[in-house]
C-alpha cells in the first residue's frame, strides 16, 4: 500500500555510512546470480562486466550461478567470501532466504548490493540498484486500464509462482484494480517465464472464456506466447495487450502490431550496481537505493529500441558490441 511505499522511498533516500567498507584497490567483485539461464540476467551481467572494464582498479569479477536453488545461493556466497572478494553484487532467488548469509558478508566487511531485484530493506543489504516489480506492475496495470478505458475482463500472466516478481506484480495489479470496479480479473496464471507454457495456458483460457478484453503481462517473454495464442485463435482483435518489457521478441511484436509498448525493466541495473559499489569501497557516501528506470517505450517509438536483426531472446540496451552476448 501507499504508506509502505512511502516508507520505502524514504529508506531508499537514506545515506549509507560507507567508512567501514573503505578499502584500497585493487578490487575483486563477487557476483552471486540466483540463476544465469535467463537472457535478462545475462545482459545485466554484461553490464557489470562493461562497467568494471572502465575501472582499472577492478581486478577481477567472479560469477556464481545458483540455478534457482536458494540453498545453493547461500553456499555460493559462502564460497565467494572464502575467495576474499571486496564487493558482493547479487540478484536473489529469494530475498529472505539469503538475508542471513548476506548479513554474514556485511559482518565480514564486504558490502552487498542488490542488483536488479526489488528494494531490499535489510541490514544484510548495504545498497540497492533496484527495479521495483511493484511499480513496474503498477505502471503496466495503469497503462492497461487506460487502454481498456477502465472496463472489461482481463487475465493476468505471471512468472513462476512464489517468486517476488509474481507476488509483487499481482499485488500491484490488484491494488490498481481497486480503482477500476468495472474491470474484472478473470484469472491469474503462472507461465514460468516460459513462452510455450504461457501460450498453452492461454489456449486453454481462450476455451474457457468466450470474451477476454485485456491481458496483464509485464514480462514480454510471456506476452509473445499469449499474443500468439490469441492470434492463432483469430481473437487478437478482441484483446488489448498490456505493455511488456524491453525483451526484443516482444518489441518486435510491438513494432509489428503497434500496440502495448514496453515498461522497461532495464538490464542497466548491473552497471548502476557497480558504480554504487565502487563508491562504497572508496568511502564515498551513497544512498541506500537507486531506482533504475528507463522511459516507457510506446508503440510509436519502439523502432528506436527494437533490433529486428537480433534474436527474440535479447534485450534492448546500450551495451557496446564487444560486451554484447554472442548472437
Amino acid at each position: 500500500d501507499q504508506a509502505a511505499r512511502d516508507a520505502q522511498d524514504k529508506a531508499a533516500a537514506e545515506t549509507v555510512d560507507t567508512s567501514r567498507f573503505k578499502e584500497e584497490p585493487p578490487y575483486k567483485i563477487g557476483v552471486s546470480a540466483g540463476y544465469l539461464s535467463n537472457s535478462w540476467v545475462v545482459f545485466a551481467l554484461q553490464h557489470i562486466r562493461w562497467e568494471a572494464s572502465k575501472h582499472p582498479e577492478v581486478e577481477e569479477v567472479i560469477v556464481t550461478d545458483a540455478a534457482f536453488n536458494p540453498a545453493k545461493q547461500v553456499s555460493d556466497i559462502e564460497d565467494l567470501l572464502r575467495q576474499d572478494i571486496d564487493l558482493l553484487l547479487y540478484w536473489p532467488v529469494d530475498d529472505a532466504a539469503i538475508a542471513d548469509v548476506l548479513q554474514r558478508a556485511v559482518d565480514a566487511g564486504v558490502p552487498t548490493i542488490n542488483t536488479g531485484g526489488g528494494f531490499t530493506d535489510s541490514p544484510g543489504t548495504i545498497a540497492n540498484a533496484y527495479i521495483s516489480q511493484w511499480s513496474l506492475g503498477e505502471d503496466v496495470a495503469r497503462r492497461l486500464m487506460e487502454d481498456l478505458d477502465g472496463k472489461g475482463k482481463i487475465i493476468a500472466m505471471l512468472p513462476i509462482a512464489g517468486t517476488t516478481a509474481a507476488v509483487d506484480q499481482l499485488d500491484a495489479l490488484k491494488t490498481v484494480l481497486k480503482e477500476y470496479p468495472e474491470v474484472e480479473l478473470l484469472t491469474a496464471e503462472y507461465g514460468d517465464w516460459n513462452r510455450a507454457k504461457a501460450k498453452q495456458i492461454t489456449e486453454n483460457l481462450l476455451q474457457r472464456y468466450p470474451r477476454i478484453d485485456g491481458v496483464f503481462s509485464p514480462a514480454g517473454q510471456m506476452s509473445i506466447g499469449v499474443a500468439e495464442a490469441f492470434e492463432e485463435a483469430g481473437r487478437l482483435d478482441e484483446v488489448t495487450m498490456s505493455p511488456g518489457d524491453e525483451y526484443n521478441g516482444w518489441l518486435k511484436w510491438v513494432a509489428e502490431h503497434r500496440q502495448g509498448g514496453a515498461v522497461t525493466f532495464p538490464t542497466r541495473a548491473g552497471q548502476v550496481a557497480v558504480q554504487k559499489g565502487l563508491k562504497i569501497l572508496k568511502g564515498e557516501p551513497v544512498t541506500r537505493g537507486t531506482a533504475v528506470k528507463d522511459p516507457f517505450i510506446s508503440p510509436e517509438n519502439v523502432d528506436a529500441h527494437v533490433d529486428m536483426e537480433a534474436p527474440d531472446d535479447w534485450w534492448a540496451s546500450e551495451l557496446p558490441p564487444e560486451f554484447l552476448p554472442e548472437r
Binding site: S37, S39, L45, W193, A196, K199, Q207, R208, A310, P325
Partner: protein, 321 residues
C-alpha cells in the same frame, strides 16, 4: 463367461487400459466443457502436445528396451536453440538447419546409448548425468541467451491450419507417431527391442545384436528429442535456453501411463500417444474448469497416480506382473 474368454478379455483390457483412461478423461471433459466436442479444440490439443509427444515416441523405444532417457528435456532445449542459430533468420537455411539439428540429437543419443551398452550402469542415473552435461553445453553454446533466429515462414507453416482446421504441426506429430508405430510393429528392430527388454541375457544368447540395438534405440530417442525441440521451436519460437527443462518427466509420465514399464519388454507407441493425450487433456481440463494453479498441480499428481493404479490393477487381474 468361460474362464478362458474371461482371461482373454482381461488381457485385452489390461493392454488397452490407457485408451479407456483416455476416453474417460475425454468424457469428463465433454461433460464439463463443450470445447472437448469441438474438432478445432481437439486438433489444438494434438498440436499442443507435439513437442512432448514426439519426444515420447523415441523414449518409448528406449523404455521397451529396458532403458530410460532422462536427458530428453536437455536435448529438446539444446536442439531448439541450435536449430534457431542454424536457421539464422534465413529461409534458405531451413532444411539444412533441421537436418543438422537431427544429427546433433542423434549424436547425443548415440553417446548415451554407447555408454549404456558398453557398461553396466543404470541408465536412469546415467542419462540424468548426461542431462546436466547437455544442459551445461546448451548454456556454454548459447552464452545464456537463446540466440539465433527462426527462419521466416518456418513457424507460419508449422502453425497454419489446413482447411483452417488441422494444424500442420499436429499432422507432423501424427505422422511421426504412425511411423514410430510401424517401425515398432513391423521391423526386426522393433522386435529386437522387446526381446532385449524382456530378457537381455536370453537375447544375447539368441545371437541378437544387443549393443548395436541399444545404441540405435538411444540414438533414435535423441533424434526424436531433436524433432521435439524443432517442434517446440515451431510452436512457440525459442525464448530461453532451458525451454525443455522438466519435459523429461512429462515424457516419462506419458510413456509409463501408456503401459511401457521400467522393466522393459512391454508397451508401445500407441499407448504412449494415448498417455500424452491423457496428460495434456487432464491439464487442460483443470485449466478450463478454472481450478487455481496449486490445485492444478494436485489434480495432475492425482491423475498420474490414479491412472497408473488403474492400469496396474487391470494388469494384476490378468495375473501378470
Amino acid at each position: 463367461m468361460t474362464p478362458e474368454a474371461r482371461a482373454r478379455l482381461d488381457r485385452l483390457l489390461a493392454a488397452n487400459a490407457i485408451f479407456l483412461a483416455l476416453i474417460a478423461v475425454w468424457l469428463v471433459g465433454a461433460a464439463v466443457s463443450d470445447a472437448f466436442l469441438m474438432p478445432n479444440y481437439l486438433f489444438n490439443v494434438v498440436r499442443q502436445i507435439a513437442p512432448v509427444g514426439i519426444a515420447a515416441i523415441g523414449v518409448t523405444y528406449v523404455m521397451i528396451l529396458g532403458g530410460v532417457d532422462l536427458s530428453i528435456g536437455a536435448v529438446i532445449s539444446l536442439t531448439a536453440v541450435f536449430c534457431a542459430v542454424q536457421m539464422d533468420g534465413d529461409a534458405a537455411n531451413t532444411l539444412p538447419a533441421i537436418l543438422l539439428t537431427c544429427l546433433v540429437g542423434m549424436a547425443i543419443g548415440a553417446i548415451n546409448g554407447a555408454l549404456v551398452a558398453f557398461s553396466r550402469v543404470t541408465p536412469f542415473i546415467l542419462t540424468l548425468g548426461t542431462a546436466v552435461a547437455v544442459y551445461g553445453l546448451t548454456q556454454i553454446y548459447s552464452g545464456g541467451t537463446a540466440r539465433g533466429e527462426v527462419a521466416p515462414g518456418f513457424r507460419d507453416l508449422a502453425n497454419t491450419r489446413l482447411d483452417g482446421l488441422v494444424p500442420v504441426l499436429a499432422i507432423v506429430f501424427v505422422a511421426l507417431a504412425a511411423l514410430g508405430l510401424a517401425v515398432q510393429k513391423t521391423t526386426s528392430f522393433g522386435r529386437r527391442l522387446f526381446l532385449i527388454g524382456s530378457n537381455p541375457q536370453a537375447a544375447l544368447l539368441s545371437g541378437l545384436p544387443v549393443r548395436r540395438t541399444t545404441v540405435i534405440a538411444y540414438a533414435v530417442s535423441g533424434l526424436f528429442g531433436a524433432l521435439g525441440g524443432i517442434a517446440l521451436l515451431a510452436r512457440s519460437g525459442v525464448s530461453s535456453t532451458s525451454a525443455g527443462q522438466g519435459l523429461e518427466f512429462q515424457v516419462l509420465a506419458a510413456v509409463v501411463l501408456g503401459g511401457t514399464t521400467f522393466e522393459g519388454g512391454r508397451g508401445g507407441i500407441a499407448g504412449t500417444v494415448a498417455g500424452v493425450l491423457v496428460l495434456v487433456m487432464a491439464f487442460n481440463l483443470v485449466n478450463i474448469v478454472g481450478l487455481d494453479y496449486h490445485l492444478q498441480l494436485v489434480v495432475m499428481g492425482a491423475i498420474i497416480i490414479l491412472a497408473s493404479a488403474l492400469y496396474g490393477h487391470l494388469q494384476a487381474r490378468t495375473g501378470r506382473a
